[in-house]
């Protein structure tokens, strides 16, 4: 009886793969059809769909099929499609996953399409392109520029009688002094720095020392002083009662429910393209500033980062059509008039200049900040290494341990150093 079962089971196993894998995967690709995928929201979806329609009206020989989902789910879907070899022809990509995809040969080098003249980069300053470059090859073109920033509530500073900082020159000492004074005079606290991704915060400080967070194998810095200071400032503020308690700050919330939106913090640490939602949630005038400088800064901490890319997967069936659409999306003034900088500040000079006269007041603030940041920015570091996901998780865990006071400052910092080197090796 047992044997019969075994035979049946084996027969099933032998039978099934043959019928499944016998089917050829390739369905005849109608030349002229391309698949376009992005993550977004109804507003972005509407504008991107319109852009596709405008493109198809201009180039009727190409048909675009669109695929879209919210951010939650997009990477599950793309990873799965990558495993099955069914990626679209053009996909929206993110800096954090770029290197992972490039090192697994999933993305195509765009240089041939530039050489063929399909993609025109003549109006684009090279510093906007370096984020998409790995080992001299271009794997993604930025759809908008982003920079890390700090947004604050000028009304609170005015109430406390504190002058607004000169954001290009202020230091973390200034920041700490302002935070304490604001708390003493108004009771408004300071939010812990970059609760969703603390690395963004200390990365800025480490870059100012002339090093980088990630090295070739392991961490890119050996002196933990900057890292230590990142936590030491927060602990000093916490002990003075000026920092929002970690129990409150580390609860995942929507921007609308956040402590900054509720007016309990005078400051919030964000990426510049989050400013629209932060502003909408806070419902009061806000200003943008560069992150403070460390003492004896040797380099610029801030850098311009692509908010998102368009990349062509290596397995694309119709890469030329994808490249054509990418070029249109990037450079065409009329389509950008409709897109309204929804994906971030556009990178071609003419498009950006044209747009800056058109956008609303909030987006104007972002445009101005990006031009301030570009004057105070250093070059972007290479894309995050493949183990970065695990590293960021560890950093966030230790950050919580330090601020929840489960481990001492020194123990926490040395944990990041040793575990970081282990994970990244």
């Amino acid at each position: 009886m047992k044997r019969n079962l075994l035979i049946i089971a084996l027969a099933c196993m032998l039978l099934v793969p043959s019928f499944i894998f016998a089917q050829p995967a390739a369905e005849a690709s109608t030349s002229g059809t391309m698949r376009l995928a992005w993550w977004g929201n109804p507003t972005r979806d509407e504008r991107t769909l319109k852009a596709a329609d405008m493109f198809m009206a201009k180039y009727p020989e190409i048909k675009i099929e669109t695929e879209t989902t919210g951010w939650g789910g997009y990477w599950d879907k793309m990873n799965t499609q990558a495993a099955a070899g069914s990626l679209p022809d053009l996909m929206q990509h993110d800096y954090a996953y770029m290197l992972q995809w490039v090192s697994r040969n999933q993305l195509a080098d765009l240089t041939p399409y530039i050489q063929k003249g399909i993609i025109d980069l003549s109006k684009i300053n090279d510093s906007f392109l370096s984020g998409g470059r790995v080992d001299g090859k271009l794997y993604g073109i930025s759809l908008g520029t982003n920079a890390v920033c700090l947004t604050y509530d000028p009304a609170v500073l005015a109430k406390a009688g504190i002058a607004e900082p000169d954001s290009a020159t202020w230091t973390w000492e200034d920041f700490e002094r302002i935070a304490l004074e604001v708390y003493r005079k108004t009771g408004v606290q300071t939010i812990p720095f970059f609760t969703t991704d603390p690395k963004v915060g200390f990365d800025n400080m480490i870059r100012q020392t002339g090093a980088a967070t990630f090295g070739k194998s392991g961490l890119g810095f050996t002196d933990p002083a900057a890292l230590r200071e990142f936590y030491a400032i927060q602990l000093r503020l916490l002990d003075a009662g000026a920092l929002i308690r970690p129990e409150v700050a580390f609860v995942t919330v929507t921007p609308e429910e956040g402590e900054f939106a509720k007016g309990r913090s005078w400051v919030e640490f964000i990426w510049s393209n989050q400013f629209v939602s932060t502003q909408a949630a806070a419902k009061r005038p806000l200003k943008l500033a560069l992150l403070p400088n460390i003492k004896n800064a040797k380099a610029k901490g801030t850098f311009l980062k692509p908010s998102m890319f368009f990349s062509i997967p290596a397995s694309a069936e119709n890469p030329e059509a994808a490249a054509k659409f990418l070029n249109y999306f990037l450079n065409d003034i009329s389509v950008n008039d409709m897109l309204m900088g929804e994906r971030g500040v556009p990178i071609p000079d003419d498009v950006r200049d044209h747009m800056s006269t058109k956008v609303d007041a909030i987006n104007k603030q972002i445009f101005d900040y990006i031009s301030l940041a570009s004057k105070n920015a250093g070059p972007i570091d290479p894309p995050d290494p493949t183990a970065s996901g695990e590293f960021l998780k560890m950093v966030r865990d230790v950050t919580q341990e330090i601020l929840y006071k489960r481990v001492s400052l020194d123990a926490g910092v040395s944990k990041i150093m040793t575990q970081g080197n282990q994970i990244l090796k």
Binding site: V16, F250, E257
Partner: protein, 304 residues
């Protein structure tokens, strides 16, 4: 002659049995066996989804032993399962008993109590649940009304955060309640009538009729909830935003497994974790199945 007869009969039984289970068997072979075998293979490989799996023997399992987060997630999951499953079942059974009547009002109540189970993993629950247990949330507001003033963040504190998930599990007790109700409905009324004639009180009727008659359904609920409890994902994902915050106190096993697979691109390690989970749940349900013959009451005894 008799011998052959029995043989053809067993053959007929086999044919009938396989015919009846054929829909499932076909689906299992076509859609489950291959993915399962693949995941078993992955568990012995280094596989990052984007590239090809590379065989690495028992490495994943060895690595697990030294992985603090693995042990943490195991701890969280065991606590969650062992606390939430009994509480949920007790609550579901209690409410089902209460609602086991057919009046209009009761039917309305049933619907009301079932509604929370319908919202599942929706965004609304995610947002709502956090707002209940935040430092300035509804729970603390309610406590303030009865004179307990606290700024305690139930959801931000590593000691209590897991309880917000347990309360969520209890709140969504509707499915177990529905199955208990269906079970209660299947108890023949004649049994109660006969017991009443014998002069049994309601407590004795409950003990001697309801409890034994409901054991098959209780058994079902227990097994299913155990499996659900150990594989819980959506609730933890939704409430902690997929992070397992604070201090990994809500990092349930399936959530960590998901992070490993799709955030850290360790599909191989993640598959290995899945098989460890299968083993754990297998042992748990195995224990329940083995002991079931002594406490589950079937009208129709096997082996007829």
């Amino acid at each position: 002659m008799k011998h052959i007869n029995r043989r053809t009969r067993t053959l007929m039984e086999d044919a009938a049995g396989y015919a009846f289970i054929s829909p499932w068997l076909l689906g299992f072979v076509a859609f489950s066996i291959i993915p399962i075998l693949f995941s078993l293979y992955y568990s012995f490989t280094d596989y990052d989804i984007l590239g090809d799996p590379v065989f690495n023997g028992l490495n994943n399992f060895r690595r697990m032993a030294g992985d603090q987060l693995f042990w943490q997630s195991l701890k969280v999951t065991f606590f969650y399962a062992f606390v939430s499953v009994p509480l949920r079942l007790i609550f579901a059974f209690f409410v089902a008993m209460l609602f086991n009547r057919g009046t209009r009002a009761i039917r309305f109540y049933q619907a009301v109590y079932y509604v929370p189970s319908l919202v599942g993993g929706s965004i609304a629950v995610a947002v709502m649940w956090r707002r209940l247990f935040m430092a300035d949330g509804a729970l603390n507001a309610a406590l303030a009304k009865i004179g307990i003033i606290t700024e305690y963040s139930w959801i931000g504190n590593p000691d209590t955060a897991i309880w917000t998930l347990i309360v969520l599990a209890i709140w969504q007790f509707g499915s177990s309640m529905l199955i208990f109700l269906a079970g209660l409905r299947q108890i023949p009324k004649e049994l109660y009538e006969a017991a009443s004639i014998d002069g049994a009180g309601s407590f004795r009727k409950f003990l001697n009729i309801t409890v034994p008659q409901i054991t098959p359904v209780l058994f079902f609920n227990l097994v299913m909830q155990l499996i659900n409890g150990f594989t819980v994902f959506t609730q933890a994902f939704v409430v902690s935003g997929g992070s397992g915050d604070p201090l990994n106190s809500t990092l349930v096993y399936a959530l960590y497994l998901y992070q490993r697979a799709f955030k850290f691109y360790n599909m191989g390690y993640s598959s290995a974790m899945a098989w460890v989970l299968v083993l754990i749940i297998g042992v748990m349900t195995g224990i329940v199945f083995k002991t079931s013959s002594s406490w589950v009451f079937y009208e129709a005894k096997e082996g007829k």
